[in-house]
């Protein structure tokens, strides 16, 4: 069984385990947005990056995602070094700007001491963590949703933008989504960084209207997801709410 060192502590894990598993076994919390225990590791959100050096100790380190890194003999891992924390903070700055309405993201930003948002808010409904896509395919065995496009135009979608007959409206996609599971109302118009919602309780279902929801109509909020043709996506809702403030 491979033995590796995480933050100075030796740990022995089963073959096939990831560094993320090993860290969790030690009770070390590594933040993730695209990881779920029941799904194939994806390595897309990059929040779980850790600093890795080999035991041969040439001093050089690499930043690798813990969720996809197999725990191998002799690995030396730092999960919260200054470099790692800085990287996570900067990533979170980008995440908050992309989806300021996600409570999950706002909470992580607070936790990592992010105190400044320099990027313009986008109010996107999606960070493309791919949890919904993998959930639909791997756990629900439906494969009704997937990615389409590339680069800046990549998005979660359905073939030809029509609900697939494979969709059973189970709602699992909504259930795993880190952006629409809880809504943060954001804060002042000056900054989209909230930092006040660490103790927020669940918000009213009414504010789910521009969630990344693939239910049509949504069973939970009964408002209709972004793909409902008769209800246009209300990207502006959050923005105008902010301006009113």
């Amino acid at each position: 069984m491979p033995t590796l060192k995480i933050n100075g502590i030796s740990v022995e894990v089963e073959r096939g385990a990831s560094v993320l598993d090993a860290a969790r076994f030690l009770g070390i919390h590594i933040p993730t947005l695209c990881h779920d225990d029941g799904l194939t590791p994806y390595g897309a959100c990059r929040l779980c990056v850790v600093e890795v050096s080999n035991s041969n100790g040439n001093g050089r380190t690499k930043m690798l995602s813990a969720c996809t890194l197999p725990a191998e003999d002799g690995l030396v891992v730092q999960t919260h070094s200054a470099k790692v924390e800085k990287a996570r903070r900067l990533l979170l700055e980008m995440y908050v700007a992309t989806c300021p309405q996600s409570k999950t993201i706002q909470d992580l930003a607070s936790k990592y001491g992010m105190r400044q948002e320099r990027l313009a808010p986008k109010f996107d409904n999606c960070i493309q963590c791919g949890l919904c896509v993998r959930m639909c395919e791997e756990q629900m065995m439906a494969g009704a949703i997937g990615f389409a496009g590339r680069g800046a135009k990549r998005r979660v979608s359905r073939p030809f933008d029509i609900t697939s007959p494979l969709c059973r409206q189970c709602g699992a996609c909504l259930y795993v989504c880190p952006v629409c599971e809880l809504r943060c109302h954001g804060s002042s118009a000056e900054s989209t960084l909230c930092n006040g919602c660490l103790n927020f309780s669940t918000v009213c279902f009414q504010s789910y209207d521009d969630a990344m929801c693939f239910l049509d109509p949504c069973h939970a909020c009964e408002v209709g997801g972004p793909f409902r043709s008769d209800v246009p996506v209300k990207l502006s809702t959050v923005k105008s709410a902010q301006q009113e403030k």
Binding site: G143, F160, S164
Partner: protein
């Protein structure tokens, strides 16, 4: 488009092995034959290769060779590689779009031209270049755009071969 298409598609499908690896070559073949990927073809290919439609759709929208909407008679590729960029390709593209009354790269209303930007066709020594169908036009300038488009637009009215010569002679006049 005619009703014969599905028949053509079946003939085409028969040439490929029913494996996942055939997906991209098959889509390329369909793209060549139909000049775009019709929905019925994607659905048929998905069932034939036992690949989910979601996957087929993802592949079809990922690669830039594929188009889900019909393209024009002539495909105009304006190279925006680095060498072409520093030698003024963006201005050539702007001019072309303006001449064809297109806001962004796409297909003209009369379905004559589809303008695309392409990242490097490997003729950097002759930058900026524009490739129309299979002909490469070297050392493009804004002033040459109109004449070039006109030539292709009216090609069918002229005896075959004549138009090409005119252009090649022009192309060889290096600045």
């Amino acid at each position: 488009m005619t009703d014969f298409e599905p028949v053509q598609l079946e003939a085409l499908l028969a040439d490929f092995e029913e494996t996942r690896e055939s997906l991209i070559p098959l889509l390329q073949e369909v793209q060549t034959q139909y000049c775009y990927l019709p929905e019925f073809a994607l659905r048929r290919i998905a069932s034939k290769l036992s690949v989910s439609l979601t996957d087929v759709y993802q592949v079809a929208t990922f690669y830039s060779c594929f188009s889900l909407v019909p393209v024009g008679k002539h495909v105009v590729q304006v190279c925006l590689g680095t060498a072409c960029h520093v030698r003024g390709a963006p201005r050539v593209l702007d001019r072309m779009l303006r001449d064809l009354k297109l806001g962004t790269p796409g297909t003209t209303q009369d379905m004559q031209f589809t303008v695309r930007s392409v990242r490097c066709v490997g003729c950097c020594g002759l930058a900026p270049v524009v490739r129309v169908d299979n002909n490469t036009h070297p050392n493009m300038t804004q002033a040459k755009v109109r004449g070039m488009l006109k030539k292709y637009r009216s090609k069918e009215d002229r005896p075959a071969g004549e138009a090409d010569e005119v252009d090649d002679a022009e192309a060889r006049v290096h600045s």
